[in-house]
């Protein structure tokens, strides 16, 4: 998109060595802070911080950048993101005692071994510490946004003040769906559709089971979407296939792109959203409405809200395959029932409407007095270190002069010594190296980003899977090409690192030579390394 620059950081759950780092990563905060210093944005809209660092919100606060954050899922309440326990149970309420075992089971490598003598409360305190930390950082943005009123209420119930969080539903681009005049397929099939990733929280297994109970031979189940491992669970697709038991009426279509969506929707008679987690908005429901499809969804959370408690679709108890089968049977048998709940595009908010509202929010937070941060108890440098603030307010020449004067005073305190002149000389010699190192640093960063992007692309290709042998072969070739390219970048990075190490050595040699000269004047030098 024109005018939009993208900066990526590659950091996965597997790159972290303990649990708290999932939420607070100093290195990512540092990189982000440098970015903020360069870009100096007027407003920052934060969307999701998983695998980044929630302390980026602290960096924004410190720099006084007006910030809006959209809470797209439950990650800040549940580290697994969707309040779905590994047992498959949906956590209707947040119970941190239950969280401890859940987290340890999900990411054992982030908790360390249960060592003899290690305090038993460490895991509990770690999970609680995340809670405290999240509460603290969630107080930092000027405004929080939830995509649904339901999701807003969840965060208010958790403790976010109601005036700090607003429900702003997403808008969708209008699409042209080639809806046939006779909605049913020419061969009379009744096509039940699912759109989305094939992960347990989406409840695809509930739909497959419901379909198996449908007892309507002309019905088909069209599953569109990619499969990904869901935390520790890598076997979901396999289980779905087993559940489908080779039923030829069930088709796993695999991944689709936005461009294919209208055609996919046009080939369906009913759309099912069987999520066993609450959802926070559901784009899929809206996509169904844009295609004038009847939508059936789980009766909870943001889905219940979207379907206006059953006035804009049919609801069934979450996870209840028998009830879903009953709804689908009725919709199959009764065209009038289908037409009664058929979706309408006017129920879907447009992107333009959403943008208008967000612009208003940006304007609103951008014009708030910045002093509000300190009044709210946020600690800043000015409050805790006024002397450092005063120093930073001095012009560079004054700072240099002050430093030289200070070194002279130090010299007088330790007689026979006058280091200011030496400092000037060293600073001159070092400045050339500093510029050189900065250029190399930029180049290194760019290479690292490129390498990471290539690796990520290769991984995504591998995860995508293939529908045919030919496609599989093409995928493998592309993955191999990307890997080779990434290895090339890695070689170049190593060369640059070696360059940098050499520059550093030169600088240290310069420093050492000056140190030895001054050590000689002090009549000693035994504390120093041997002369080079």
């Amino acid at each position: 998109m024109d005018g939009l620059s993208v900066h990526s950081v590659v950091h996965n759950f597997s790159d972290t060595d303990h649990f708290f780092r999932l939420y607070a990563n100093p290195e990512i905060e540092r990189v982000f802070d440098e970015h903020l210093a360069r870009e100096a944005p007027d407003v920052c809209h934060v969307h999701h911080l998983t695998c980044l660092s929630t302390t980026m919100l602290e960096a924004l606060k410190r720099r006084g950048v007006p910030t809006v954050m959209t809470l797209h899922d439950s990650w800040l309440l549940c580290p697994r993101g969707q309040r779905l326990h590994p047992s498959g149970d949906h956590c209707a309420t947040i119970d941190r005692e239950r969280c401890i075992d859940c987290m340890r089971g999900t990411w054992p490598h982030l908790f360390g071994p249960a060592e003899p003598g290690a305090p038993g409360g460490t895991d509990r305190e770690t999970v609680r510490e995340v809670d405290r930390h999240v509460r603290r950082v969630l107080a930092l943005p000027d405004l929080l946004i939830a995509p649904s009123e339901f999701h807003r209420r969840e965060f208010v119930a958790w403790g976010v003040p109601s005036e700090r969080i607003r429900a702003i539903p997403h808008g969708l681009p209008r699409m042209t769906v080639p809806v046939p005049v006779a909605r049913r397929a020419p061969d009379g099939r009744f096509r039940i559709g699912y759109l989305g990733t094939l992960i347990p929280s989406k409840g695809v297994h509930v739909l497959v089971e419901a379909f198996s109970r449908l007892e309507r031979p002309d019905a088909t189940l069209e599953l569109h979407g990619e499969w990904f491992p869901y935390h520790e669970d890598a076997g979901y697709l396999e289980r779905l296939r087993e559940l489908a038991a080779g039923d030829p009426r069930i088709t796993f279509h695999g991944r689709y792109g936005p461009a294919q969506l209208p055609a996919i929707l046009a080939e369906l008679d009913v759309l099912v959203v069987p999520s066993i987690w609450f959802e926070t908005f559901s784009l899929t429901v809206r996509e169904g409405w844009l295609a004038r499809l009847p939508v059936v969804a789980s009766d909870h959370g943001a889905l219940r809200e979207a379907l206006a408690e059953g006035r804009r679709g049919r609801l069934f108890p979450p996870g209840d395959a028998a009830a879903l089968a009953s709804v689908l049977r009725e919709l199959h048998d009764n065209p009038v029932a289908r037409d009664t709940i058929r979706g309408r595009p006017e129920w879907v908010r447009t992107v333009e409407e959403m943008v208008r509202e967000l612009k208003g929010v940006y304007q609103e937070v951008g014009t708030r007095p910045r002093g509000a941060a300190a009044a709210a108890g946020w600690s800043d440098l000015d409050r805790f270190h006024p002397e450092l603030c005063r120093l930073r307010g001095l012009p560079q020449e004054r700072r240099s002069a002050r430093l030289r004067e200070g070194l002279e005073t130090l010299g007088r305190a330790f007689p026979g010594w006058g280091p200011a002149a030496a400092y000037d000389a060293l600073a001159r010699e070092g400045s050339a190296l500093r510029r050189w190192a900065a250029v190399r640093g930029e180049e290194t960063r760019a290479l690292e980003e490129e390498r990471a992007r290539l690796r990520q692309e290769a991984r995504a290709l591998e995860a995508r899977g293939a529908r045919s042998d030919a496609e599989l072969e093409a995928l493998r070739r592309r993955v191999a090409e990307l890997e080779e390219e990434a290895r090339g970048k890695e070689r170049r990075l190593r060369e640059l690192e070696a360059d940098r190490a050499r520059a550093r050595e030169r600088l240290e040699a310069v420093s050492r030579s000056w140190l030895h000269r001054w050590a000689d004047r002090l009549g000693g030098g035994r504390h120093l390394e041997p002369r080079p």
């Binding site: 305090p119 305190e125 930390h133 600690s379 805790f384 000056w514």
Partner: protein
Amino acid sequence: MSQVSMVISTAGASEALAEGLDDLRAAAGEGELLLIAPRADEVQADGCRALPQPAGGDWVASANEAVRAARGEWVLLLHEDLRVEPGFLGPLLQHRHEDDLFAVVPRVVLPREGGLIESVVEMVVEDGLVGAGWPSLRERERRWLRSGPVFFPASPCALFRREAFLRLGGFDPLFTPRGGADMDLGFRAWRRGMRVVYEPASIVYHGGSGSLEGSLDARDEAAVRWRDRLLFQWKNVTDPEWLRAQPATALALAAQGAALGDQALLEGLDLALQALPAALKAREGEARVAAARSDREILRDSAPER
């Protein structure tokens, strides 16, 4: 346990304080519980004595004031973001009959660092600069199970002999705001022949909410650390060889800062140089004390044991 005063420094009536207060109240037993906050009326709580923070004071001034006001023979200083395991006080108090004991620290576990230990601190000397090292953090090792010496009582949680604390003048305001006042205090205690001991059977958790210390970015933190580290040398170091290295080291740091564009280092050095007269004055005071241990003996005696 009536001889123990527990002192919690707090930024106010925070959620962090409220959450941990019941456990501490239970642990205090017959001892007293003091809360020291910018506004004492904000932190009224059953069974607690509230003290106002000294005007313009930060944590160092507050802690000194609280120890003066405490009635117990032993004073436990705690940050408000500390959580305690039941029974944590008993193992600390088992050391109270050791005559030369200045302070005892519990096993301060850092949930934010995967359970590593904050209170196992060693003295390190690098390039003529005396500093502190955290072996548990450096080695990513959670198991420090032996009671033994540590370099200084880490400020988040430590039990002090009140009389000795006051005799040493408490934490030195030279290291405010934030900073290395605890390292300085520990060094002075060791120098006078006292000891600081780590007790792993006493377990507490330090969340590090930052409510007391504020939130500084990495550059700010680094600048303040450099300032404190240099001031520590200029105030305390007496070993001739280490001392001789000081000006040359300062020069090397200045050169390194200028050459590599390390602004935090230059700022830390500048701040330390501005406070040099105060450090030298404090040094004169320390010079009048008969040292029971030399710098190198402190390095040897305060080394933590595995």
